[in-house]
């Protein structure tokens, strides 16, 4: 398929008419626009028809992205879009399935699904809008909030330490692990494209600015850096882990951005590409099974 097969969907048309209700200064805008560009560019460069992209949204500020892009979408429920994504990919191997999820959404409510998608090497992409706070429910701590964080459910500050989601993903068997930051949009777009094109499960934790409840812009601007080429051997577990552990979402430390891990493994859904039969063929099969019953 050549890129100009979809003239009705220029990249500009990818922004939907839905009214955008994110706060001024919200990092979600960067994610939205970089995902839009990533989709448009992949469609052009790789000849993927625009109708073959599917976005899923969790519930939270992040999930609104499903409304804001003019792309197929399943705006699902809190914490549960990842298994739905696997279902979509199972039904149609041509689809590029991308989950936009939140840190409360997928690291708290639905963490097991994330781990199993990684374990299976389900051929989907998960973009976590990691603002380290529950935005839409007005500011509670999440699994990546730093120790001491005072949210509305924990006004005294939490004593817990955050999860390092990249470390968890590595332990779970994810085959692509990256981190982006909403103030580095070009870099973010490249990560999105890489993740989407990765065969198998791809995971991008995006440090997303929440302008209203947890604005870490200064902190991130000070600490975040793009991993220089060659500094990580993305094919090696130990090398990836070393880099992943450089910052633990808690300590004051340099925050590496980029791709930490990228390997090939058999894709879960491919084992199920059995012959599809239509209904009347299936009925013949039923009759056969009953006739030869034992």
């Amino acid at each position: 398929m050549t890129p100009d097969r979809s003239p009705g969907h220029p990249a500009g048309g990818l922004i939907s008419p839905a009214e955008n209700t994110w706060c001024p200064g919200c990092g979600n805008f960067s994610i939205q626009h970089m995902m839009k560009s990533a989709v448009a560019e992949l469609s052009e460069e790789e000849g993927i028809p625009l109708e073959n992209f599917v976005l899923l949204g969790g519930i939270g500020c992040h999930g609104k992205l499903a409304d804001y892009l003019n792309v197929n979408s399943l705006y699902a429920i809190h914490g549960r879009s990842v298994p739905a994504a696997t279902g979509i990919r199972l039904a149609n191997p041509d689809l590029k399935v991308i989950c936009h999820v939140g840190d409360g959404d997928i690291y708290a409510e639905g963490l097991d699904h994330l781990i199993f998608a990684a374990k299976r090497n389900s051929d989907i992409t998960v973009i976590v809008h990691d603002n380290r706070v529950y935005g839409l429910t007005t500011g509670q701590y999440t699994p990546t909030s730093p120790a001491g964080f005072r949210g509305r459910s924990t006004p005294g500050g939490i004593t817990e330490h955050p999860l390092n989601p990249l470390g968890l993903m590595l332990a779970a068997g994810a085959t692509y692990i990256a981190r982006g930051y909403t103030k580095k949009i070009r870099h973010l777009k490249d990560l999105f494209k890489e993740a989407i094109m990765h065969r198998g499960f791809s995971f991008v934790d995006v440090l997303q600015i929440c302008a209203t409840y947890f604005n870490l812009t200064d902190y991130y601007n000070e600490h975040a850096y793009e991993i220089p080429a060659g500094e990580v051997d993305t094919g090696r577990f130990e090398s990836a882990l070393g880099k992943i552990r450089e910052w633990d979402y808690d300590r004051e430390a340099p925050i590496p951005l980029g791709t930490f891990y990228s390997v090939e493994k058999p894709v879960y859904e491919e084992k199920f590409q059995v012959l599809a039969a239509d209904r009347s063929e299936r009925r013949a099969l039923v009759r056969k099974v009953v006739e030869e019953w034992r």
Binding site: A18, E51, Y75, R80, L90
Partner: protein, 552 residues
């Protein structure tokens, strides 16, 4: 009618279920309709399992307490069933295990040793003994074994069966019946086949009694039936994967029991709002909570009718035997797609794991219903308002369509809205689909009756308790009325059916009379409740006695 009842009992892990199915096979081969009740506790080896196989010269679907033959692998298999033994009962026991035995003792340990056969062949010895006791020819016995035992074990089984045959005497003579030799299937197997008839593409489930055997059956026959079978990490994932599959165009069903269904309720509500079709086979067992995991109940009717937040239509059907299970599983899947509503096939352990003669030829298949698909004209709007409430479907990957499905209140294109008018219209659209579904169901056999209309006494029942009611009703010349569809409730059919019902009782496997409650809610009088809630289904004679108290 000619009928025979055989109980076979032993320890878990000794293959009592399979042995029971072989006994059913023996009677099937002779032209009988069979039914098997299988009773087992929640453990893997040891304990006490038993199967009661009943065969008759007409359709049946329930057991009776007294048995003609009792095949006992151990002492428990005699002691636990004293009340089933009567003067005419022939007892055959494993003399190597049973000390206080009666009837014929077979030295099974010696037999398998002498025949150099594996222990599992002891079942064949019992089958052989049964054949002889029942005056069934050796050639029929061998025929059945040939049809059920894998080739490499056949010889040993035949030898051991012969030893059983020779060790006892003919006590009575089962005459050849005139039914064809129907295969013996469980309710779960019929459900699986029915779903495939309806167009199933993928089945997703997490194991849970009594629905696990549906998962196992479809997984085992996945290639034969051209379906995909997926077992994910838990039931939340099950229902969400199913919705993902269906959103992308794949006809999908899931199976579970009460505890797993709890975990699916949030996904069910998502299905309701997003209008993504899914069929749930819900096998009831006694709760609350883990309860009696391997036993039976009819306790989830109101739970499935009301599960999930918000108000949305759903199809709930409760088949009562294999043929209904097959037909309504197929119908549920098709109607779920036609109206984009969740469908629930409500079974229970009695039906799901009970085995029955299956007459595929006798089934009037439900009408073929196709989903309404987008015609490709204009701009695609996933939730376009229509008269019957059904919006045409397109699936991602279709050129020209942007398919936006959502859990939020939404406009026609699928974008979130919070406007009062749109919210109201959306709710009305959903309810309109329910009305359309209800209208369509008017042409289906949603309420079935058995017996004479002017009987003057009526037994109301649902699901697996249908056949025990039919048999017990005969003793009283009563009529049986069974709703097949519980939602949308077939109000008109029910009203018409119940005209002149006379004295009414409502038979259920629960403690609070759930169908009774539903009937009252629909404005009908459910009559006197007859309830059983010890985890076991009614036996025909037991129900007859209970009915006697009311009808006397």
């Amino acid at each position: 009618m000619a009928e025979y009842s055989v109980l076979i009992g032993g320890k878990a892990g000794e293959g009592i279920n399979t042995a029971g199915l072989s006994i059913a096979g023996l009677f099937s081969r002779l032209g009988y309709r069979t039914y098997m009740y299988f009773d087992y506790p929640s453990l893997i080896r040891g304990g006490h399992n038993f199967a009661i196989v009943r065969a008759a010269d007409r359709a049946i679907g329930a057991h009776r307490t007294p048995v003609d033959v009792l095949l006992a692998f151990d002492q428990n298999s005699i002691e636990n069933h004293r009340q089933k033994i009567h003067d005419g009962t022939t007892v055959v026991h494993d003399a190597s295990q049973v000390v206080r035995g009666e009837g014929y003792g077979l030295p099974l340990d010696d037999i398998v040793k002498e025949e150099n056969a594996p222990p599992i062949t002891k079942n064949s010895a019992m089958l052989g003994a049964l054949a002889r006791v029942a005056g069934i020819g050796r050639e029929v016995l061998e025929d059945v074994l040939r049809g059920s035992v894998p080739a490499k074990h056949l010889e040993a089984n035949l030898r051991v069966a012969g030893r059983g045959y020779d060790a006892v005497e003919e006590v009575f003579t089962v005459k050849r019946g005139d039914a064809p030799a129907f295969p013996v299937l469980t309710g779960n197997e019929a459900a699986g086949l029915g779903l495939v008839h309806g167009g199933l593409g993928t089945y997703v489930a997490y194991p849970m009694t009594p629905s696990s055997s549906l998962l196992h059956f479809l997984a085992n026959r996945a290639e034969d039936l051209s379906v995909k079978v997926i077992h994910p990490e838990n039931e939340i994932s099950v229902i969400l994967m199913a919705l993902g599959l269906a959103y992308a165009g794949e006809k999908t069903a899931v199976g579970t029991s009460g505890g797993g269904f709890c975990l699916m309720t949030e996904g069910l509500s998502l299905a309701g709002m997003s209008e993504i079709p899914v069929t749930i086979v819900m096998g009831q067992r006694p709760g609350p909570s883990t309860g009696l995991p391997t036993y039976t109940s009819q306790t989830e009717l109101h739970f499935v009718l009301n599960a999930g937040q918000g108000e949305f239509p759903r199809l709930v059907v409760a088949p009562g035997d294999l043929e209904e299970t097959y037909a309504w599983s197929a119908a549920a899947l098709m109607l779920s797609w036609r109206y984009q509503v969740p469908a629930i096939v409500l079974t229970d352990k009695t039906l799901a794991e009970g085995a029955y003669s299956f007459d595929l030829g006798s089934i009037t298949p439900p009408p073929d219903r196709e989903p309404v698909l987008w015609d490709g004209a204009g701009e695609y709007r996933r939730y376009v308002r229509t008269e019957d409430g059904v919006s045409p479907l397109a699936f991602p990957g279709r050129e020209g369509a942007i398919v936006k499905a959502t859990s939020y209140a939404h406009d026609e294109a699928g974008f979130t809205t919070e406007k009062p008018v749109e919210a109201r219209e959306l709710q009305e659209k959903l309810l309109r689909k329910g009305e359309s579904l209800k209208a369509e169901l008017a042409a289906y056999p949603t309420v079935k009756t058995y017996g004479a209309r002017d009987a003057g006494t009526t037994i109301v029942c649902w699901g697996s308790q249908k056949w025990v009611c039919i048999e017990a009703a005969e003793e009283f010349g009563a009529r049986v009325v069974q709703p097949l569809v519980l939602s949308p409730f077939p109000t008109r059919q029910w009203k018409e059916t119940m005209i002149g019902a006379g004295k009414v009782v409502c038979v259920e496997n629960n403690a609070t009379g759930q169908l009774g409650r539903l009937l009252r809610q629909q404005g009908f009088d459910p009559g006197r409740p007859i309830l059983k809630y010890d985890g076991r289904p009614f036996a025909v004679d037991e129900l007859t006695a209970r009915l006697g108290e009311v009808f006397a």
